[in-house]
Amino acid sequence: MPALKAPSPYSSLIDLDDLSPAGITEILDRAKAFHAEPPPRDLLRDVSVVNLFFEASTRTYTSFALAEQRVGADVVALPPGSSSLGKGETIADTALTLAAMGVRVIVTRHPHSGFPARLAESFAGHVINAGDGRHAHPTQALLDLLTLETEFGKLAGLRVALVGDILHSRVARSNAIGLRAMGAEVTLVGPRTLLPDSMGGDGPRVARDLDAVLPHVDAVMLLRIQHERIASAVLPSLDDYARNYRLDARRLALLPKHAIVMHPGPYNRGVELTEDVLRYPGWRYAQQVSHGVYVRMAVLDFLVNG
C-alpha cells in the first residue's frame, strides 16, 4: 500500500512530519544564528531557486524572496498564471523541465492540497512547500516555533491553543504537527463546523469553550476567519463567531500574565481579534514576520547544504 508520502530520493519540505525533532531543532538553531549574525551571502551560491506561486501571497512570497537573496541564490520568480501547467502540461513534465534547466530548489504555493507533494515525486531537487490548499504550511509553523522558543527558551511542555477555523487552515495543521513533535501540548478551539470532533484523533485536545482554555495556556495562536464561511453556511455571522471566539479585552484578561498571542496574518480586526490585542504586551505578530525570513534562510541552507 502507498506510503504516506511518495518516496523521493531528494529532500523536500512538504510538511513538518518530513523532519525529525532533531531536524526541526537544527533549523531553529540555524535561524537563531542567522538572526544573531547575518551569514555570508554565498551559502547558496550558484544554486538556482524558482518561486512557483499559484496563489496570491504577500508576506510569504516576500519573506522567501528576501531569504533567497540573503543566502545568495539565483532566483527566478514565475508570476501566478505564467506556468504552462495551466495549458495541460503535467506535474511531472513541469518538474522535468525545471530540473533540466538546472533548477535545484522549487518554492511553491498552490490553492490545492497535494501539489508540492506531487511535484516532489518527480523533481530531482528540493521542493519547499510555501502553503498548499488546506494541507500544510511548514515554514509558517517553523517560524511560529521559533517565536515560541525565543519567548520561552523551550518548546517541550508549552501549552498552546490554536483558535478558529482549524478545518480550513494549513497553518493549524502544520503547527499541530510541529508543536506535538517538539513536546508541546496543543489544544484546538473552535465551533464544530470549523473543528470537527474527529480532528483531534489521538493527537491534540479539542475544546469548544475558549474562556475555559485561556487561563491555562502559554500561547494563543489565532487563525484568520474568512467571510465566505458565512455564505457557505459554516458560520451564521461574524458577530456570532465573535461571541465565543474573538479575542478581546475581557478574554485577554483571562490569560496568564506571561502568555503571548500570535497570528499568521493577515488578521481581521474586529473578527478574530479586537484592537485590544494589537496593544497587548504579549502580541508577537511582528516577531513572527521577522522570524519568517531567518527560518526560510535556514530551511534553504538545511535542504541544499545539509
Binding site: T90, G114, R118, G133, P196
Partner: protein
C-alpha cells in the same frame, strides 16, 4: 455452430444446487447437458477443465464502456475485451456516455457496436431522465423496446425526490429496475475523498458517509411507495447495509451491489495525494469496509459489480481535485473479490457474480441448466500479480496495480464460443 465439451471441472451452479465434478456439453449456443461423464460428440472441441471451477457466465451489471463520446477512455470493443479477459460473459453498461443513453437510437447503436465487437454480451442501461439532468423523464417504454434492461442516471443522483417518484410511478410496469447511485450533492460538495480522519489530516475536502445514507434511505422509501424495484449501486457505508435490511423487513423490492474496492480498500489510499483511488462513492473508513464484508457473508449483498470506470493515464495523473473518478475493474474483479472475502462459499461467489445479476436484470443466464445460453466462466484459485500494462481495457489505472490476487479467470465462453482462454483473447472472438 459446433459443440464444446468442458471436461472434468468442478461445476458450481446455485440454481441447480450443484457443486461437483461434472462434464458440461454445449451445443448450438446452448447448454445441452451437465452430467458426470459425457462422451465427446464427433467434432466437438474438448476443453479440459480439471482444477478449475466451471460456473454460469459472470455478468457485471455496472460498467462504463464510454462509447459513444469518450472513446479515448474506452470503446465498446476494448471494454468487452476486458470483460471476457476478466471472466465476464456479459456486462450492463451505464448511460453516462456523450450523449447519454436516453434515446432508442443510442441504445440500438450500443447494441450494434457490441455485436460488431463479438465478445461479451452487452446489456444497455437507459437513463432515467433526459441527458441525465434530473428534470424530464426519459422515454422508458421506447428505451425498453430498443433493448435497455434497466434504468439509471448513474453518477448523477436524481436530485429531485419528486422527479424520481414520478419516474418510478410512470415506469412501474416497464421491465427493468431503477439503479440508484446514491450521493447527496449538497453534502458531497467539492469532495475528492471520504470525510474522515484521513481527509482532515491531508487537508482535503471529504464527503461524509451521510451523503450516501440519506439518498439510500430516500430511494428505498420511494421504491416502497411506488412499487418500482430499485437496485442500490455500489454500497459504501455500514449504514447503507442497515437501511437495506430495514427495506427488506418492510417487504420493499430492493437489491444492492458492492464493488471489490469498497470491500478491501479504505481512504488511506489517498495518501500521497494521488488520484488512483479517487472514486464515487469514495473509499471509506476501514469500519465501513468491514461492515460491507460482513454484509456479503450474511447475504445482505445481492451482487458483486465492478463499476469499471476507465480513464486515461494522463487524466488520473492530475491533481486530486482535477482528476476524474473511477478506475478499471473488469480485469481484476474475480481476484479482488476472492481477496476481499476469501472464506465465501463458491456457490455464493457464483450467485453474486452470475445468478443474481441475471435475475435482477431479467436477462438469460445465471445457470447452466440445460437450455440456458452457453455462457460459461471457468476460474481457478491461482495467484497472479496485477500489471495494468497488460490490461485489455484502455484504462490502465487501478489501485490494485501491483497487488497479488488469489483467483483468476481461466476461460470465458459466450454463446458457445470460447472467446478467452488462459488470458488470451481468441482470434475467433473478433468479428464473429
Amino acid at each position: 455452430m459446433g459443440a464444446i465439451l468442458i471436461r472434468g471441472g468442478r461445476v458450481v451452479d446455485p440454481v441447480l444446487g450443484l457443486d461437483a465434478l461434472r462434464d458440461v456439453l454445449l451445443r448450438d449456443g446452448l447448454v445441452a447437458e451437465v452430467a458426470e461423464h459425457i462422451a465427446a460428440p464427433a467434432g466437438a472441441e474438448v476443453l479440459e477443465a480439471a482444477g478449475t471451477v466451471v460456473a454460469p457466465g459472470f455478468i457485471d451489471m455496472h460498467v462504463h464502456l464510454r462509447e459513444p463520446g469518450h472513446n479515448h477512455k474506452e470503446t465498446i470493443a476494448s471494454g468487452c475485451a476486458a470483460a471476457v479477459v476478466g471472466g465476464f460473459t456479459a456486462v450492463a453498461c451505464m448511460p453516462n456516455t456523450e450523449p447519454a443513453l436516453d434515446s432508442p437510437a443510442l441504445i440500438a447503436e450500443v447494441l450494434r457496436l457490441a455485436r460488431a465487437a463479438g465478445t461479451a454480451r452487452v446489456y444497455p442501461i437507459g437513463a432515467i431522465t433526459r441527458a441525465r439532468k434530473g428534470v424530464e423523464l426519459a422515454p422508458f417504454w421506447r428505451l425498453h423496446d430498443a433493448g435497455a434492461v434497466a434504468f439509471s442516471d448513474d453518477g448523477n443522483t436524481v436530485e429531485s425526490a419528486r422527479v424520481l417518484r414520478q419516474a418510478a410511478l410512470y415506469a412501474r410496469d416497464v421491465p427493468g429496475v431503477f439503479i440508484s447511485h446514491c450521493e447527496d450533492g449538497t453534502l458531497k460538495g467539492d469532495a475528492v475523498m471520504h470525510e474522515g480522519e484521513q481527509s482532515l489530516r491531508l487537508g482535503l475536502a471529504g464527503s461524509p458517509g451521510l451523503a450516501e445514507d440519506v439518498i439510500v434511505a430516500r430511494d428505498l422509501l420511494i421504491a416502497g411507495e411506488t412499487g418500482k424495484p430499485f437496485h442500490i449501486a455500489h454500497l459504501s457505508t455500514a449504514m447503507s447495509v442497515q437501511l437495506m435490511l430495514f427495506a427488506r423487513a418492510q417487504g420493499i423490492a430492493a437489491t444492492c451491489e458492492v464493488t471489490a474496492h469498497h470491500l478491501v480498500l479504505d481512504d488511506g489510499h489517498v495518501r500521497g495525494f494521488r488520484a488512483d483511488g479517487k472514486v464515487n462513492p469514495p473509499l471509506r473508513g476501514d469500519d465501513d469496509a468491514a461492515a460491507l464484508r460482513a454484509a456479503v457473508r450474511e447475504g445482505t449483498i445481492d451482487v458483486f459489480a465492478t463499476d469499471h470506470a476507465p480513464h486515461t493515464r494522463e487524466e488520473k495523473d492530475r491533481l486530486l481535485h482535477d482528476a476524474p473518478v473511477g478506475f478499471s475493474g473488469l480485469e481484476t474483479a474475480i481476484g479482488a473479490y476472492a481477496a476481499a472475502v476469501p472464506d465465501l462459499p463458491l456457490a455464493r461467489f457464483v450467485a453474486l457474480l452470475s445468478t443474481n445479476p441475471a435475475r435482477i436484470l431479467g436477462v438469460p443466464g445465471g445457470t447452466l441448466a440445460p437450455g440456458s445460453p452457453a455462457d460459461v466462466t471457468l476460474f481457478a484459485d491461482r495467484a497472479w500479480t496485477v500489471d495494468t500494462s497488460r490490461f485489455h481495457s484502455q484504462g490502465k489505472n487501478t489501485p490494485f496495480d501491483g497487488a497479488t490476487l488469489p483467483r483468476r479467470a481461466v476461460a470465458t465462453i459466450v454463446g458457445g464460443r470460447i472467446v478467452m482462454h488462459e488470458g488470451r483473447l481468441l482470434e475467433t472472438a473478433a468479428g464473429a
